[in-house]
C-alpha cells in the first residue's frame, strides 16, 4: 500500500523531468504552432503569468506533445510490452499530423519514454505507476496554478537560452 504510493510519486517526478526536458529541448516555448496556442498564451499572460510559459502550455493543449507521448507510451507498455510503446509512438505521430504540427517532439518523447519506462519496469516498478504518475505530472503543470506554472516554465526556458 505505502510502497505503491511511493512508487507513484517517484514515477511522477521521473516523467515530469522527462517531458519537460524534451519539450524545452524542441523549443516549444518559443512560438505558438497554431493560432489557438497564441490565444491561450495571451489569456494566461492577462491573468498574471509569463508569456513564454503560456505559449508552451498552449502548445501542449493544441497538439499532442511529449506529455501525450509519455502517457500513451506508458499505456502501451502496460498493455503489450515494448511493442505497444512503439505502436503508441506511431499513433502520436498520426495525431500530430492531424493537428497541423510537425510532430518531432511527440514522436521523440514517445520513443524515449518507451525505453525509460521499460527499463524501470525491469527495476521493480509497475507500468500502472507511470500512468498515474504522468497524470499527476500534467496536473502540476496545467491544473493547479497557471501563474506559478508559467513563471517556472519561463525560468527554465531562460536557462536553456
Amino acid at each position: 500500500m505505502l510502497d505503491e504510493i511511493l512508487h507513484i510519486m517517484a514515477a511522477a517526478i521521473i516523467s515530469w523531468i522527462l517531458f519537460v526536458t524534451v519539450d524545452i529541448f524542441f523549443k516549444l516555448p518559443e512560438t505558438g504552432g497554431v493560432s489557438g496556442a497564441s490565444a491561450i498564451a495571451r489569456d494566461i499572460e492577462a491573468g498574471g503569468g509569463a508569456l513564454s510559459g503560456g505559449t508552451m502550455m498552449g502548445n501542449i493543449v493544441c497538439s499532442p506533445d511529449a506529455s501525450a507521448g509519455t502517457l500513451l507510451a506508458a499505456c502501451g507498455v502496460y498493455v503489450a510490452g515494448i511493442t505497444g510503446g512503439l505502436a503508441a509512438a506511431v499513433m502520436v505521430y498520426v495525431g500530430n499530423r492531424i493537428c497541423h504540427d510537425p510532430g518531432y517532439a511527440g514522436t521523440t518523447g514517445a520513443v524515449l519514454a518507451t525505453f525509460v519506462i521499460y527499463a524501470f519496469t525491469l527495476a521493480g516498478f509497475a507500468a500502472t505507476d507511470f500512468i498515474a504518475g504522468m497524470v499527476i505530472a500534467i496536473l502540476t503543470i496545467q491544473g493547479l496554478s497557471h501563474v506559478h506554472a508559467s513563471r517556472l516554465l519561463a525560468r527554465l526556458w531562460r536557462v536553456r537560452q
Binding site: 497554431v34 493560432s35 489569456d43 501525450a68 500513451l72 499505456c75 502501451g76 492531424i98 500502472t128 496536473l139
Partner: protein
C-alpha cells in the same frame, strides 16, 4: 488499484476546475487535464490491446476539439 483511484480523483478535480473557471482561454488547459485523466482511466479499466487504440483515439479527438475551439476563439477575438 490505487492508480485507478488517483486518476479518478484527478478527473473529478479537473472537471470542477473547468466548470468554475470563467475565461475561455484559461478553461482549455483544465479540459486537457481531464482528457489525460480519462484516457488513462480507459486503459486502466480494461486490459485489452484495443483499449490502447481507444485511449489514443479519445486523446487525439479531445486535442482536436480543443484546437478547433481555441483557433475559432482567437479568430473571434481578433475581429
Amino acid at each position: 488499484m490505487i492508480a485507478l483511484y488517483v486518476v479518478a480523483a484527478i478527473a473529478v478535480f479537473a472537471a470542477i476546475r473547468v466548470i468554475v473557471e470563467k475565461n475561455t482561454g484559461r478553461k482549455l488547459p483544465y479540459a486537457n487535464v481531464l482528457g489525460f485523466a480519462v484516457s488513462g482511466a480507459v486503459v486502466l479499466l480494461i486490459d485489452h490491446p484495443l483499449a490502447l487504440v481507444a485511449a489514443a483515439a479519445y486523446f487525439v479527438g479531445s486535442t482536436l476539439e480543443s484546437n478547433a475551439i481555441a483557433s475559432t476563439y482567437a479568430g473571434g477575438v481578433k475581429r
